[in-house]
């Protein structure tokens, strides 16, 4: 029977996974808002695929999935900055390369197939100390970096020539955002699953961009939507014995549907 707070959710076994996921559910929507502002949200799906592929390659080399995935995603993020890869075509290639690599590695390694499925579905309940530490490190990095990154990103979006006109470099904040996003997606993909991680990047920001009265509220609303969606998915998946990733995605998409319905009358005046 469905209970509001299933007994399993209170089990000490689930505390580490729960806190790990909650940290990521607060972080990813903020990054999603920045990527949406930069029109780069599709890049997140490419990075998530590349992270999953490199996690499997790392496993084959004896590294934990979360470490291999993070290393691969960091390299992908740095390459994205270096090549100034922007636009849907670049992100489509990132997705295709990641998807191809993921499935080829999965098909050609002993435990790859089941692990490949685990990365796609999410293996939150197996998150341990390593995942919690990396999530905490990412949240701490974001708290440290975002006050510096955020104004630069907003300025570059609305006043793209200000920095170059004054011969100020722009690569450092681009690299900072790409690396933070890549590392966060790698850890999130290894815990929440590929589509669960992408949904937390894309959907809360998508909803917040429609409803929030300001940028400040966009960030707050995105965090709240990500957090509430995660909590609801965690409880629902445990209570109904369903895979976590698909439940999270389903709930977030349902929330997006509600937001689209309620925000239908608040479209642009222009």
């Amino acid at each position: 029977m469905f209970e509001l707070i299933p007994d399993l959710a209170l089990d000490p076994l689930f505390r580490l996974p729960f806190v790990t996921g909650l940290l990521l559910a607060g972080l990813l929507p903020v990054l999603g808002a920045l990527l949406t502002l930069r029109q780069e949200w599709l890049a997140a799906l490419g990075l998530a695929h590349l992270a999953a592929a490199s996690a499997l390659i790392g496993l084959a080399a004896g590294l934990p999935a979360v470490v291999g995935g993070t290393l691969g995603a960091l390299v992908a993020g740095a390459v994205k900055t270096l090549l100034r890869a922007r636009g849907n075509a670049a992100y489509a290639f990132m997705i295709l390369i990641g998807w191809s690599a993921l499935l080829l590695v999965a098909a050609n390694s002993a435990v790859g197939d089941s692990l490949g499925h685990a990365l796609i579905d999410g293996q939150l309940y197996f998150a341990g100390t390593t995942e919690l530490l990396m999530s905490s490190l990412l949240v701490a990095s974001a708290i440290r970096l975002l006050p510096w990154l955020m104004p630069l990103i907003l300025r570059a979006t609305f006043f793209p020539r200000f920095e170059t006109a004054n011969r100020r470099p722009t690569w450092h904040w681009r690299l900072g955002l790409d690396l933070l996003t890549a590392a966060s997606l790698a850890v999130a993909t290894a815990t929440l699953g590929l589509m669960g991680a992408f949904a937390l990047i894309f959907v809360p920001a998508w909803i917040a961009f429609r409803l929030a009265p300001s940028w400040r509220w966009t960030l707050i609303l995105a965090i709240l939507i990500g957090g509430v969606g995660y909590l609801a998915a965690f409880m629902t998946a445990l209570a109904l014995d369903q895979p976590f990733g698909p439940v999270l995605v389903a709930l977030l998409v349902a929330g997006a549907g509600l937001a689209a319905f309620s925000g239908a009358g608040t479209s642009s005046a222009t």
Partner: protein, 200 residues
């Protein structure tokens, strides 16, 4: 940095600029603190390329662009960034530009709390231009700022540009001669004929 009235902020000497190949020049002019200088020419003659060269976004083939020591620029291209959803208020836009002034004209002050995507195109463009003018930049480069503005909005744009600004100078590019005459201290005519050069 507050500049002395009349101080030369920018000296352009024999500038030939372009991208893969030259598209404009040679051209010479100066911009002094406190003035509004207009570059006038027909559509397609390469006026915008001059601003791009000054703003490090186009190639300089010949000539020199000399800036006063410590000169800071605020450079706006022809169109403001416009996305379907922009949950950013006017106040936040001003902050992101690094706007130092708080004396926005009443018509703009009244809409600063609204999201940019809930403003009309003209309101947003005026706010965008004001964001650059309200910074502490010594020289503001504006490329065809009247694009898409109706006559009322264009009149408000004139008011924005001529508001006094601590020795700040404005370098404007436009194909609308009447607008430049209403707002500029001096006008430099840009000719597409490279042989005849440009006159001021």
């Amino acid at each position: 940095m507050t500049r002395a009235p009349g101080e030369t902020l920018l000296r352009v000497s024999g500038l030939t600029a372009g991208y893969a190949r030259p598209v404009i020049g040679p051209l010479s002019f100066e911009v002094r603190a406190g003035e509004v200088l207009g570059l006038w020419g027909r559509n397609g003659c390469g006026k915008s390329t001059i601003l791009k060269a000054i703003g490090n976004a186009a190639r300089v083939f010949a000539g020199r662009i000399e800036q006063a020591p410590g000169l800071t620029l605020a450079y706006l291209e022809q169109q403001p960034a416009r996305f379907p959803r922009m949950p950013v208020t006017g106040h936040e836009l001003l902050r992101s530009a690094g706007a130092a002034r708080t004396d926005a004209p009443p018509a703009l002050a009244a809409i600063l709390h609204r999201r940019l995507d809930r403003l009309s195109g003209g309101q947003y463009q005026l706010l965008w231009v004001w964001s650059a003018l309200a910074t502490a930049a010594d020289l503001v480069l504006l490329d065809e700022p009247t694009n898409n503005l109706d006559p009322d909005a264009e009149a408000r744009l004139v008011d924005l540009i001529v508001r006094p600004g601590d020795g700040r100078a404005v370098l404007l590019v436009s194909h609308e001669r009447r607008f430049l005459e209403s707002v500029c201290s001096r006008i430099v005519e840009v000719s597409v004929d490279r042989e005849s050069g440009c006159s001021s």
